[in-house]
Symmetry: C2
Subunit: 333 residues, 2 copies
């Protein structure tokens, strides 16, 4: 469905999904405000269902289908948050989900999807085999394919995060969102236009995956460069629908280095006590490293997700040596 969503469609999407998603909390940090000479409000989509904003778009796309289509379930190819979002949507509606993942996918992410009860179909780790596999699954099962970003209904759903932020922070005049495939950014642009007052929207991406920046310069969709980045959620390139919206609506694209991403992520973990994934640190990195451009502004930042693979963190796995393993309860009763 390749139509740019209008205001009423986003309002309807918000109603449609409201029983299935969290109205996520907002956070501020005084040190950051002082550092930037600005007011910064974070929208914590890391605390959304499935740990990422993707639950919004997946639910809206799923719930917008006719009843018989919903019953047949959903399929997609993803090894990231979209996979969990589709699995969660299917579980919520008590229908099947079929998720195509590359054989090389992170076992932690595979397990997370499986925990929602989705059926996982492995494929070779190429775009071609992903697409062929999901097409075969679609034909065999009758499940509806839900694209991770280049879909009007997905964009409507993602737009509801910025809509909630604007409702809670009505004098916001600047909005930062990460850009990968562009679902969140294009939805944020639309909500800024429909529900905000003169909000400038900035898309933020890693220098290592600066395809949105290159696409804006060339005027056509450029492929991602395929360089390594910690912000692995932002390695995809834009779709034709997301690009059209972003090109018309965005005030700028800001790119940041890997060091800047790590620094911003550390700030949020250490100072704000929030677990965010590297992709979600990109907008704060963009602000921190261009502070002079945003002095005095009222800035919203969407924290897109918080799904981090903690199996890497040794201190969570190796507790101190201990003598006893029993549990004691002293009770005065």
């Amino acid at each position: 469905m390749q139509v740019i969503p209008n205001k009423e469609q986003i309002e309807l999407a918000h109603q449609r999904i409201q029983d299935y998603i969290h109205r996520t909390p907002l956070f501020t940090n005084q040190t950051l405000n002082e550092l930037c000479g600005a007011k910064v409000v974070f929208k914590a989509e890391n605390m959304q269902k499935v740990g990422a904003f993707k639950a919004r778009g997946a639910l809206n796309a799923a719930l917008s289908l006719p009843h018989n289509k919903i019953t047949a379930g959903f399929c997609t190819h993803s090894s990231g948050n979209h996979a969990q979002a589709i699995a969660y949507a299917a579980k919520s509606l008590k229908v099947p989900a079929y998720i195509v993942m590359p054989e090389t996918a992170n076992p932690v992410k595979v397990k997370a999807v499986a925990n929602y009860g989705a059926e996982i179909i492995f494929c070779a780790p190429t775009q071609r085999d992903r697409e062929a596999t999901v097409e075969r699954v679609r034909q065999e099962t009758g499940a509806t394919f839900i694209h991770p970003y280049n879909d009007s209904k997905v964009i409507e759903g993602q737009a509801t995060a910025a809509k909630e932020l604007i409702a809670a922070f009505p004098d916001m005049n600047t909005l930062f969102a990460p850009v990968g495939g562009g679902g969140l950014l294009s939805g944020s642009c639309l909500s800024a236009r429909y529900f905000g007052k003169n909000i400038q929207v900035y898309g933020c991406e890693p220098e290592q995956a600066n395809d949105a920046w290159m696409s804006m310069q060339s005027g056509q969709i450029e492929p991602a460069r395929g360089l390594p980045t910690s912000a692995d959620g932002l390695m995809t390139s834009l779709g034709d629908l997301t690009f059209e919206i972003i090109r018309n609506e965005v005030s700028g694209i800001i790119t940041v280095t890997e060091d800047q991403i790590a620094e911003a992520m550390k700030f949020v973990w250490e100072r704000m006590k929030l677990i965010i994934e590297p992709s979600s640190a990109v907008p704060l990195a963009a602000l921190l490293n261009n502070r002079e451009l945003f002095v005095g502004r009222k800035i919203g930042i969407i924290i897109s997700g918080g799904n981090v693979d903690f199996s890497q963190l040794a201190f969570l796995k190796e507790p101190a040596t201990q003598n006893e393993a029993k549990v004691n309860i002293y009770s005065s009763y």
Copy 2:
């Protein structure tokens, strides 16, 4: 000041400190509620000023002093959150803080205290040298010594966390708090009695530092065993004032193993996207491993702090290799 605080004193303390502290947010988790068959509400003192509830007690003790005493500043010995809390209180009131720390203190913690503008005085890593050094500093500077827990004014301040939780969750009937020196637990017991309706309060501590459990059994203050625990904030033993309150008010002491602490901490990081320190995972570990005792209950858990040394986490320090280090902004203006 060795007096058990009454209701009015805790109410006054809350008014006294309210401009200097955050009314911290509450969080719930559906998976946890289903796992426990209970309703669990977390009070996020990890998001308090200085990243821990200790800001409450330090501010109340500081602000309760006569004006000329406040002007002369405060001193204490601590290498943990109390040190930051005293430094923050002094900074807030624009007076000096003198913090005695062992030479062996974690450099990250030393820096955190120094960042609040406190003067740090190093001592040998023995209790005797700590106390002698802080006494010398007190005499030389005229600063007032503020004890980390065994002080009525500190207990009044710590009590305000549970007071806020009860106000927001009035049908809470069970409260879990960690116990180290007992400032938070004794304050929580008093607020439960004064502001709640038949709340059972449980103190939670590592099996490796089960001095509160032993003290309740023997009826006298037992020293901590000095065994290693990841919950390093809970290694102190009770004071006479905190013990007196806890002995009279608490429904039980629950101890947990190091593995159980790590598991609970991982749950909060992974599922709730909150950074908590190991000491703060102890109450959740106590609940998770004694679920059958708390089915159907309405449980409050105070997350005491979120100060973790991230210098251990390699993935925050070593970003992916990168080609370029410049920042690009594409702007449509």
